[in-house]
Symmetry: C2
């Protein structure tokens, strides 16, 4: 499939009659809309001279103070001066890669890794290398080996990019012990850790682990987001970075957008300061737990020949398809059957993943999730029949470069 | 001055006791705040499922439809599909340069040129070359010569960047005839025109000229902004681009921020669709005309030994200081005297401009503008005395790289 074919496919997949297990859109059902409406009204009516004006490239000081408070939930003590507010955490990652990576520089990523991060890394021509990743997280020995290999080739290794809580796409959480081991390995190797942590607070039954940033402030850039816990439409994310990197991030942010939206920042800061956002997050945890259970229950019942991970939080499960079934090849037929997913190839820079799909349970209701699995099961069964008749449907030249946006189908049609 | 010294200086310059003739912040006094508050409330209360959610990387279709309507004010007929909505027009420029420019590629700019554009071009390691620019705009013969020179050096010339209406910093408008000549020259040379047009609607006594984009849709990328005519705090700008460039812009936008803020876009679209925004722009034109008159009147009366341009719109006048006075060297003393400006060196990539300052009349009231000129006059007089005693204060190694944000001091302290 070409990029435009994939784009066309996702346009169809965003139609309401399709059950999308593809998108990473959070549910907004639990948002206290009356409260939010009153907050935005007050920001415009009472703080207009600041909220509607240009602001600082580093971000609003009130927003940064609130972010410092949010960071304590993952055990990080920092100062507002350590924080850079960005247009969603994607922008923080983009700016960070922009200042760190020259074409050909190596960046290590988990296997699989977040499609949007791979897109950013590709756009700056990073040499992306996956390291072996188990249920506890990336393997420190694999990191060490990849660093040694890259250096033996005369390449610079700029960073290890990880999503330690409820990873996108695998759903796995890097264990507390593994976090320490990875940090020790990266410190020995002089490799910066990029800790992308949008799902930290969305553990279903457990509090977040201590962020890697809390264990090694000098060696970790932490990326956070309000897109999953408040509202993605505001585009507010942030980075907590060591001083030298932070200074460069601010310069890059100024070149890129002058400043992030003051209005969005004031809305977020007002919400965090005056609303019981922890209670809202608790409701979200319950909602997503119920949806995970619905999706996994339906998969277990209807599609037992596939193997799905059991995430303890976040939005996604990573599903190995029955042998011989190719996720990318099956996608057009799945969309025709009104169910969508993201093929595993999107999460690999090296052509892997064609036997996996990422299914998300964040947006559809439990009933729709069950219906989605019913449709998917029929499509998989038809694929298996094809496999039995003609051999594997696996193709060597799978579409490997989904657009970054593939992760979040356009809601533009709504 | 180092970058951090400049930064410290601008931090001081943003204090309320300083009259800032430096910033490009629009006045928000004329905004119908009650109406805006009601619009944002309704966007949150009634459109939450779209306005608070992720959107498309190209931008919201409703916002793009409204932008198509706005484009008719500068004579451009386009389709919503030609439009890419961005996080302010700075982001459109940043993405455009990102997809166009490889390190060492030549980009031609007016002399002087917008500091924020120079910052973006520098950050992608463009080879920035100023072309001679008169009161009618950039000289086509100078463009031709610069292209020939660059090509004789084996360099690729990627674009000509211009601000045709009420230029930042000179205040000059490229005449209708010159627009045609420049387009013909660029077409002959195969050079893309980047038309940055945030001040188009802010002519004091005249309607805007036809945009260059309207004369050559295939050869021009148009950049627009709601920051001057509505509110910069929302960060909504746009590009109108030929199809091949537009497609790349969308991909780059997705890698950079996934999508622009849906909330901001819906606020802007609702405002444009339901409010008399043309009447608001008319009020702004009157406000800025009054402020220009106050600033130029005070300069004429108090500082006749300087020469200021007389802009017919926009935010800025470009002032040549009395002989021997160095704008960058004088700045710390000006800030100590509680008046700020941007030294002309910020608008030159080639070390020029040290004998000029950019004075903005957009934000301070007429009374404050007059007071600012009073303070500036005293500082200039003291500098002239120094010059007469010790010779020129001009230094060969002026600070040439103001941060992009220097253009808009932080309102963060408010």
């Amino acid at each position: 499939m070409t990029a435009s074919e994939i784009r066309a496919l996702f346009a169809v997949a965003s139609r309401p009659e399709v059950v999308s297990l593809a998108g990473g859109m959070p549910t907004l059902d639990a948002l206290p809309l009356g409260e939010v409406a009153e907050i935005v009204r007050r920001c415009a009516a009472e703080q207009a001279s600041v909220a509607l004006q240009y602001g600082s490239g580093q971000g609003d000081s009130l927003a940064r103070e609130q972010i410092v408070d949010v960071m304590t939930t993952v055990g990080v003590t920092c100062d507002p001066d350590d924080v850079v507010v960005t247009t969603g955490s994607q922008h923080a990652l983009d700016l960070l890669v922009r200042i760190l990576v020259d074409p050909g520089d190596v960046v290590l990523v988990e296997s699989p890794s977040y499609v949007g991060a791979l897109g950013v890394l590709r756009s700056y021509e990073a040499d992306i290398r996956h390291v072996e990743t188990g249920p506890q997280g990336a393997e420190p020995a694999a990191v060490a080996a990849a660093v040694a290999q890259a250096r033996s080739e005369g390449r610079r290794v700029k960073a290890l990019y990880v999503v330690p809580h409820h990873q996108n796409p695998s759903g796995a959480t890097t264990s507390a012990a593994r976090r320490v081991e990875l940090l020790e390995q990266c410190r020995r190797d002089g490799v910066l850790v990029i800790e992308d942590d949008p799902y930290a607070l969305l553990g279903f039954d457990s509090e977040p682990l201590a962020a890697m940033r809390s264990l090694d402030p000098g060696g970790v850039v932490y990326l956070g987001s309000f897109s999953k816990t408040f509202a993605p439409g505001l585009r507010v994310g942030w980075a907590v970075a060591p001083p030298a990197i932070r200074a460069k991030l601010v310069l890059a942010a100024e070149a890129s957008v002058l400043c992030p939206s003051m209005f969005s920042q004031r809305v977020v800061a007002t919400y965090l300061a005056g609303s019981d956002w922890r209670a809202h997050v608790k409701v979200l945890r319950g909602t997503y737990r119920e949806r995970r259970d619905a999706l996994l229950g339906a998969l277990e019942q209807q599609l037992p020949q596939a193997h799905a991970t059991r995430p303890e939080g976040g939005f996604f499960t990573w599903v190995r398809l029955p042998e011989g079934v190719d996720a990318a090849a099956m996608l057009p037929r799945a969309v025709a059957a009104r169910v969508a997913y993201v093929p595993g190839t999107a999460f690999h820079a090296d052509g892997g993943g064609s036997d996996h799909v990422r299914l998300s349970f964040c947006f559809p209701t439990p009933e729709r999730l069950v219906e989605g699995v019913r449709r998917l099961t029929a499509v998989v069964a038809a694929e298996q029949e094809l496999v039995q008749t003609f051999g594997s449907t696996l193709r060597p030249d799978d579409a490997r470069t989904l657009p970054a946006h593939a992760d979040r189908p356009a809601s533009d049609t709504a």
